[in-house]
Amino acid sequence: MRRLMKALKGLWSLAVGLRITAVELIKPQITVHYPRKEVDNLATYRGHIELVPQDEDPGTPRCIMCWRCVDICPSRCITLRMHVQGEETGRAADPGLRLSPDVQVPYSQHLAPPPDRIVRVLDGYRLNYSLCSLCGLCVQSCPVDAIRFTGNAYLVGTTRQTFDIDLLARLQQRAASTAAARGAARAA
């Protein structure tokens, strides 16, 4: 008799389960159907990094070429090229490991480095996104807030080159296009 009761109770538990799935069956869907609709919470998403332009000049990055981002990056995905104004040849980033304790900076509390008397020019700033683990150490360690995250969640590509992003070119392109847009707006 006890076993019979137990079996009946078990059957009842199955019926309860069926009731729940039946209720869920008629509830509205909760998935976001991607190509037609996109999720709306990308504002806080942190995709790959980009360079921040100077306030007065949208075509020039804020970067002061202190190399901190290059040095802190755990996967060495940032490549920086620069030259000092007046010098003939540019200096490429040291291809070897730059993990000496003298140059690594954890994150700077936004302390500006000592003023530079020489003028440095940024020649190139590339991000190899396929190596990046989005840890955010570079953004934090930047003393002048020259790097920020993008909300770019939909980056796809078929070749590795797609993920080797020239951030400097990206910044200049964007500046040019906004300028053009502004010009067009003014003309209109």
Binding site: K9, G10, L11, S13, L14, V16, G17, I20, T21, E24, I30, N41, T44, Y45, R46, I72, C73, P74, S75, L99, S100, P101, Q104, V105, P106, Y107, S108, Q109, S133, L134, C135, G136, L137, Q140, F149
Partner: protein, 388 residues
């Protein structure tokens, strides 16, 4: 026309390991479960010797996704190692974050501002719920129930949304820093977390009705893989696996770190130590995590989220340190040996899944194949954590 499948074994070290048993009795079958198998949730391989469907002997084979996390700790500077911690156990990344950050803080004597401590508690517990929810769904998947994982994901997705607000990512968080956390929580975060806690408390009975009370699930879990407290101790099992056997050991209570000693929570335990007890413990733990989060939200003080007197460079003094936190799977320990340079001299990670997996061979002995799958599921293994 080779039908004697045993004879066809090419036989690597592990399968040959089983071969002597074959010669004395031709009735057994050696089966490789994995490295690619739906039930191992990752690249774990288990070699089992089957007598009919009964497991006579089994042995887990590790190393299929060894990524040298410990070695990487020795070639990277202290802050550079941070993103690794989100990838050892991707399901409870923040606990690993915490274990490593906490170890370095302890070694360097950095004090963490109280607001950061509370934020750590809130995010870590949210992460714990999301980890348990995923385990819940995956375990049901092991047992052949397809739908629960999607219900679990619906709730888990909300946690990921909430955690994305502060951490910016959805799975492999790299949020904790030496002396605090990266970003402060926003009002939106607090409101959403409160809302989630309320909703989730109401969702738990649905889980109970759909699955926990289900006769079929109880039949698959009860009296399966009974783990005695003595055996759990012998293998160094921790977390819900240990608590399911009735040992109320929780790092948050017995070696309190952060502000856990100021928060009230129960340590759910089981009695029999079977798969059902481990299951119930995890379900109860989710409710406890909600309780902790609610308290922490109430008590959240104002202030900095990163210690203001942080040294410019993270170079700990010579010395060694061990720091442990309670992860979703058990005790996560980080042992650091510093020689006073910018990189650790030695970094040892104690991962709970490794100890819990070592139970498997003994637990599975003599059980049915289906039970072994159930046992493996109830241990809640995260394979990358085993091969660190």
């Amino acid at each position: 026309m080779g039908h004697d499948v045993n004879e066809k074994l090419t036989g690597d070290f592990y399968t040959k390991h089983f071969a002597p048993a074959l010669s004395e009795d031709g009735d057994t079958l050696i089966l490789n479960i994995g490295p690619q198998h739906p039930a191992t949730h990752g690249v774990l391989r288990v070699v089992v010797e089957l007598d009919g469907e009964y497991i006579r002997k089994s042995e887990p084979v590790l190393g299929y996704i060894h990524r040298m996390h410990e070695q990487m700790g020795e070639v990277k500077t202290y802050p550079q190692y941070l993103p690794n911690m989100g990838r050892v156990d991707y399901l409870h990344a923040l606990a690993w974050n915490w274990a490593y950050v906490g170890a370095v803080e302890k070694l360097m004597g950095i004090t963490v501002p109280p607001r950061a401590e509370y934020i750590r508690v809130i995010t870590c517990e949210l992460n714990r719920i999301s980890s348990h929810l995923l385990w819940w769904g995956a375990y049901l998947l092991d047992l052949g129930g397809f739908t629960p994982i999607l219900y679990g994901f619906a709730d888990r997705e909300r946690i990921l949304d909430i955690l994305q607000i502060v951490t910016g990512s959805r799975l492999t968080y790299c949020y904790f820093r030496f002396g605090g956390v990266v970003t402060d929580v926003t009002d939106e975060f607090i409101a959403l977390t409160r809302q989630f806690c309320r909703d989730f408390t109401q969702r738990l009975p649905m889980y109970r009705d759909l699955v926990t009370g289900n006769m079929i699930l109880r039949g698959r879990c009860e009296d399966i893989g009974v783990l005695s407290p003595e055996m759990a101790r012998r293998y160094g099992a921790t977390g819900p696996v240990l608590r399911g056997s009735g040992v109320a050991y929780d790092v948050r209570r017995f070696e309190p770190y952060s502000v856990y000693d100021r928060l009230a929570f129960d340590i759910p335990t089981g009695q029999a130590g079977d798969a059902m007890d481990r299951y119930e413990v995890r379900m109860a733990e989710m409710a406890q995590s909600v309780r902790i989060i609610e308290q922490a939200l109430e008590a959240l003080p104002a202030g900095d989220v990163v210690s203001p007197d942080l040294p410019e460079r993270v170079i700990p003094p010579k010395g060694e340190i061990y720091f442990a936190v309670e992860g979703a799977r058990g005790k996560i320990g980080v042992y650091l040996l510093s020689d006073g340079t910018a990189k650790p001299y030695r970094l040892k990670l104690r991962s709970p899944s490794f100890s819990n997996l070592s139970l498997f061979a003994e637990l599975a002995q003599g059980t049915l194949l289906a039970d072994a799958i159930s046992i493996m599921g109830s241990l809640d293994l995260v394979i990358p954590e085993i091969d660190r």
